[in-house]
C-alpha cells in the first residue's frame, strides 16, 4: 500500500491516483447511461451496439457521424445535436468502436442522403470506419470518410507511415460539416469541405503531467519538474520530445510558431484558434495560454477571427493543453457561426 515503507518504489513514488468508478471495465457504459440521462432533449443512447444519436433525428440531410475511443469527453458524444453530429460512436477507453457500432449508428442516422464519417487518424479508427463503409455499401447506404490528421508533432513526412494523428481540429471539422449538412449540402460537397478544413488545420499539444487510466493507481508516465512533454497525442502517451518547462509566455510561441509555418499562414490571414485542455488543466490556465496565442499571432499579423477555449478533446485527466489553428475563409467562418445545440457546444 502507498505510504508503507517496505513497498515504496523509492523517491519517485507518487501519490495514488483514483477516479470515481465502479469496475474499470464498466466506466464507459455507465458514463454513457448517465450522459444520455443528463441530456434527454439532445441525445438518446442505443444500447446494443452502443451509440449516441440525436433525440430527434434530422430529416432529409446528409448524416454526420463520428466516433473513436472514449476518454476524450466531451468529444464525440457531447457534440451530438442540431448543427453538429447526428450520431457518435464511442469505443472503450482509447480504443476504436467496432465496425458494427459504426454501421448501425450510421444506418440509424441516414436519411437516404448518405453519411459523412469524421474520423481521427488512428489505425483502429480508420480500419473500423473503412470496414463500416463497406458494410454500409452492402446495405445500400452511401458514406465517405473525412480524415482528420492535424497533429503536427507526428508530421514525419514519411508517406508510408500512419501519418499525422487526429486531435482537437476534429471539433472544427464536426462543427463546420455539421452546419453545412444542416443547410443541405450533399455528400460530395460535405466530404470536400471537411477535407479542406482538416487540410488547413494543425495542432500542437504539450503535457505537464500524465493522466491515469481508469482503475490504475499511477499516472502513465512521470516528468521531472523542469521538463514538459512536447507534442503529445490524446491517448496518455508521452511525446517524442521533452523540452524545458517555462512560463506560458515562453511555451506558447514554441507551439504556435510551427503551426503558422506548417500552414504557411501569412500576414492578414484569418484563423480559428482553439485552445484545448487535455483534461486536468484549469480554465484560468487555458485563458492565460490563449492570451499568449493572441500576443504571438498579433505580432505575426494573423487575425484570430474566431476562438474556442476549453476542455473539448481530452486525454483522460492529463494536465496539458493543445493549440489548434484552422485557416478560415468566409464560408468556414459562416458555418462556424451557424447555430449549434449540443450538450458540449451550443450557440
Amino acid at each position: 500500500m502507498y505510504g508503507s515503507p517496505n513497498t515504496v518504489a523509492g523517491p519517485r513514488s507518487v501519490p495514488v491516483r483514483r477516479q470515481f468508478i465502479n469496475e474499470p471495465g464498466d466506466i464507459v457504459s455507465e458514463a454513457l447511461e448517465g450522459f444520455a440521462a443528463a441530456w434527454p432533449h439532445h441525445v438518446r443512447l442505443n444500447d446494443e451496439p452502443a451509440y449516441v444519436a440525436r433525440a430527434r433525428p434530422a430529416a432529409d440531410k446528409v448524416a454526420v457521424v463520428s466516433g473513436g475511443g472514449s476518454g476524450h469527453e466531451p468529444l464525440h458524444v457531447g457534440f451530438v445535436g442540431t448543427g453538429m453530429l447526428d450520431a457518435a460512436v464511442p469505443g472503450a477507453v482509447f480504443a476504436s468502436p467496432t465496425a458494427v457500432q459504426i454501421r448501425d449508428a450510421s444506418m440509424a442516422a441516414d436519411t437516404g442522403r448518405g453519411v459523412v464519417h469524421v474520423v481521427k487518424n488512428y489505425t483502429g479508427d480508420v480500419l473500423n470506419f473503412r470496414i463500416a463503409g463497406e458494410l454500409l455499401a452492402d446495405e445500400g447506404v452511401r458514406s465517405d470518410i473525412v480524415l482528420v490528421d492535424d497533429d503536427l508533432a507526428t508530421d514525419t513526412g514519411d508517406s508510408g507511415g500512419p501519418g499525422r494523428r487526429g486531435t482537437a481540429a476534429v471539433v472544427a471539422v464536426e462543427k463546420v460539416c455539421g452546419a453545412a449538412a444542416e443547410r443541405g449540402a450533399d455528400l460530395e460537397a460535405l466530404t470536400a469541405l471537411g477535407r479542406r478544413v482538416a487540410a488547413h488545420s494543425r495542432t500542437l499539444s504539450v503535457a505537464l503531467a500524465a493522466g491515469a487510466h481508469p482503475g490504475q493507481s499511477s499516472p502513465s508516465f512521470e516528468l521531472p519538474g523542469d521538463e514538459i512533454e512536447f507534442g503529445v497525442g490524446i491517448h496518455g502517451e508521452r511525446a517524442r520530445e521533452r523540452r524545458a518547462f517555462g512560463p506560458t509566455g515562453e511555451l506558447v510561441p514554441q507551439m504556435v510558431s510551427p503551426l503558422v509555418k506548417a500552414l504557411g499562414l501569412e500576414r492578414g490571414e484569418r484563423v480559428i484558434a482553439i485552445v484545448n485542455g487535455l483534461g486536468a488543466t484549469h480554465d484560468l490556465e487555458l485563458y492565460g495560454v490563449f492570451g499568449e496565442v493572441r500576443r504571438f499571432l498579433g505580432g505575426a499579423g494573423i487575425d484570430i477571427a474566431r476562438t474556442l477555449v476549453g476542455s473539448y478533446v481530452t486525454s483522460l485527466d492529463m494536465a496539458g493543453c493543445s493549440v489548434t489553428l484552422v485557416r478560415a475563409d468566409e464560408e468556414v467562418l459562416d458555418l462556424w457561426d451557424a447555430p449549434a445545440a449540443t450538450p458540449a457546444l451550443t450557440w
Binding site: 480504443a95 476504436s96 467496432t98 458494427v100 483502429g124 480500419l127 470496414i131 463497406e134
Partner: protein, 212 residues
C-alpha cells in the same frame, strides 16, 4: 471424406477452429507479446467464444451462416487490429456460402481469394509485411492451383493448410511493416506472426472437419 462441405461440416470446422484457438490462446498471446502488445490470443478467444454462443442461437440454413455469424461477432465486438480483419475474412466466406447448401473446393478458393483481397485492401498489407496475409496468400495460391488441377476437396484443403503453415512459419524471418509489429523491429525476429499462425490453424481445422 467429403467432396463438398455441408452446413454441419462447416459448423464442425468453425467449432474446431474455436477449440484449437482456445488451446493455443496463451501461445498466440505470447507471440503477440514478442511482436506487438500481447493481446492477440485473449482477443481471439473472447471473440470466438462469443461467436460459438451466437451460432448456437442460429440455425445453419446455408453453409454461409456459421461464417456470417462469426464475422458479425468479430465486427461487432472485437477491438484491436486483427478483430475487424478476421471479421471481414469470415464475412467473405459467409458471402460465398450465403445461398448455398454446400461448399465446393472452388467456392473455398473463391472465398479465400476474396478474403485475401479484403484484408490486403483494408490493412494495406502485402505479402512479406509479416501479417496474416503471409499465410492467406499461399493458401489462396494452393487452392486455386488445386481447383485448376481438378483435385478433390480434402486434397485441396490439405495443400492450402500446408501452404498456410509454411507461410506462417516463414514470418519468423520477416521484419514487420504493418500494425504494431512495425514498431518492434528486429526483436520480433525468430517467432512467427500470430495472425498468420491463426490462419494456418483455420485451414487445419478445415481439413479436420472434412476428414473426421
Amino acid at each position: 471424406m467429403a467432396e463438398q462441405l455441408s452446413p454441419s461440416h462447416v459448423e464442425r470446422w468453425v467449432h474446431g477452429f474455436v477449440d484449437t484457438v482456445e488451446e493455443s490462446g496463451e501461445y498466440l498471446t505470447d507471440l503477440d507479446r514478442r511482436s506487438g502488445d500481447g493481446d492477440f490470443g485473449t482477443n481471439m478467444v473472447t471473440a470466438l467464444r462469443r461467436a460459438r454462443r451466437a451460432m448456437a442461437g442460429v440455425e445453419a440454413t446455408t453453409v454461409g451462416v456459421p461464417f456470417q455469424v462469426t464475422g458479425e461477432t468479430f465486427l461487432a465486438h472485437s477491438g484491436g487490429t486483427s478483430g475487424p480483419l478476421f471479421g471481414m475474412w469470415f464475412r467473405d466466406f459467409g458471402k460465398v456460402g450465403a445461398d448455398a447448401g454446400a461448399l465446393t473446393l472452388a467456392m473455398l478458393a473463391e472465398a479465400t481469394e476474396n478474403g485475401w483481397a479484403t484484408v490486403a485492401r483494408l490493412g494495406s498489407a502485402e505479402v512479406g509485411d509479416r501479417t496474416m496475409v503471409d499465410a492467406i496468400a499461399p493458401a489462396s495460391v494452393a487452392l486455386n492451383k488445386a481447383v485448376g488441377d481438378g483435385s478433390g476437396l480434402v486434397e485441396g484443403l490439405r495443400s492450402a493448410a500446408e501452404a498456410a503453415r509454411v507461410g506462417a512459419e516463414g514470418t519468423s524471418e520477416l521484419l514487420g511493416r504493418r500494425g504494431r509489429t512495425s514498431y518492434v523491429g528486429e526483436s520480433a525476429l525468430g517467432s512467427p506472426d500470430p495472425g498468420a499462425v491463426t490462419i494456418a490453424l483455420f485451414y487445419r481445422a478445415a481439413v479436420e472437419s472434412a476428414t473426421a
